[in-house]
């Protein structure tokens, strides 16, 4: 087993473990922290796969911004009551349905991936370690998928406008 394999197994194991912690943790802050651990491990996994850029972006965007926002939400909203609630025991039937559903999907994709030829399993059409990878990605984003890319931008912008609008309304109501 090479060092790389070892690292891969460690990362996968840690990711699964932290994912489970995220789901089962009673303390919301601990749950968010486990998510953070998961994301950092994911970034290292990407690094291991040779995609340095994606790995750094993963940390900047997800760990640096998204999870921080989660933490903010957790701070500002009281989740103490929910934390005391044993959701997974009480709603056992609902949990079972989801378990079966996801289990089915999981098995299906597992079978699908293994039945495919090796060529299809690679993520990008070219070697991700080469400096061309970035350029290719950029090219795809700005030519072929430009519309989708811009669409996402517009959607995010709408969200920003909506938030500002709502906040302003709340503030005006409070003042007036």
């Amino acid at each position: 087993m090479s060092a790389q394999d070892l690292a891969f197994y460690y990362l996968s194991f840690a990711m699964i473990l932290s994912g489970l912690f995220t789901v089962f943790s009673r303390n919301p802050v601990h749950a968010v922290l486990s998510l953070l651990v998961l994301i950092v491990h994911q970034a290292f996994m990407l690094y291991l796969l040779g995609s340095e850029f994606l790995s750094a972006i993963q940390i900047i965007v997800y760990a640096g911004a998204v999870v921080v926002l989660f933490l903010f939400v957790v701070y500002l909203i009281n989740l103490q009551k929910e934390a005391r609630f044993r959701v997974f025991v009480r709603r056992f039937s609902l949990g079972l349905i989801f378990f079966i559903l996801f289990g089915f999907l999981f098995v299906k994709y597992f079978v699908l991936i293994f039945s495919m030829s090796t060529g299809l399993r690679t993520l990008l059409p070219i070697d991700p370690t080469s400096s061309q990878a970035l350029k290719m990605m950029a090219r795809y984003l700005f030519t072929e998928y430009l519309f989708q890319f811009e669409l996402i931008g517009v959607i995010l912008l709408v969200v920003v406008f909506g938030t500002v609008f709502l906040l302003r309304k709340v503030k005006e109501e409070r003042v007036g």
Binding site: I57, I59, F72, Y75
Partner: protein, 329 residues
Amino acid sequence: MSDIIAQIPYPLLVFIVAFILLNLTLLHVAYLTYAERKIIARMQQRLGPNRVGPRGLLQPIADVLKLLQKEDIIPNNVDKSVFKIAPLISLVCAGTGVSLIPLWEKFVLSNLNVGLLFILALSSLSAYGVILSGWASNSRYALLGGLRSSAQVISYEIAMSLALLSVVLMAGSFNLQDIVKAQVASPFKVYLIPQVVAFFVFMVCALAETNRVPFDLPEAETELVAGYFVEYSGIRFALFYLAEYFGMVVMSALAVTCFLGGYAGPFEVPGLPFIWFLLKLYVLLFFYIWVRATLPRYRYDQLMGLGWKVLIPLALANLFVTAFLKLYL
């Protein structure tokens, strides 16, 4: 010399180099605190530390020893695990950046393709140390400090990234080594001249990222007592302190690399390969200290206003101009 190096197995070599680098940085950080106290004392017409060792030179060591001996107080009702881990997150995130900085042409611990991005990623992670310590302390002042700080770090990160992106545009690479080489090859020799706006934005943001005066709101002594680390004592307090100075060193080193031509100098000094890098670094660190002695503190909303209304548009405009020139010149 190179023969001997070639014989050492690679992991061991990395370990040795990392060890040397870590110690060097720690030494710098320790004496940065000393230098800060001395320089500010000079500016304020006092003496500064002068009791421990000749001219107080052993003061940082005495400080560390004292803090190590202190009782590690963990208040009641804190989230113990998070409370303990938060200072470590701060320190690791602030310190790891050093490994990516090319100190010399032939000396860089980890020559990543996306070195610059990686440093940015680390600095965005360092917000966690602050937020978590603020939350885990179970104190209102700490929480306010934590909230302030996270908002501050997130917003200034954008401006900082935009400023650095213009450098990346000019150099055409995220690799710090390449950036230095591109600078030396460029007609200006340093990017400070064409990218003076970006340099300005970067330095301001660096002050904010490291929570230094005039942006030291999270720990604003006179408002929030000590902000997010109000409940910390002993060595855990020291870790936060250390993280702040590590942050200063890394940010200054990054500025040296991206704007001031890194290790390159007007002429070679035989036997002293790092001299130019260190000289530039010290100038920037002096700037940090100078600012601290001179300026009052911003108010929270003014700080946010400065970040969003001045620095980000400035950095964006600079980025556009740079891109335009790069395309059509």
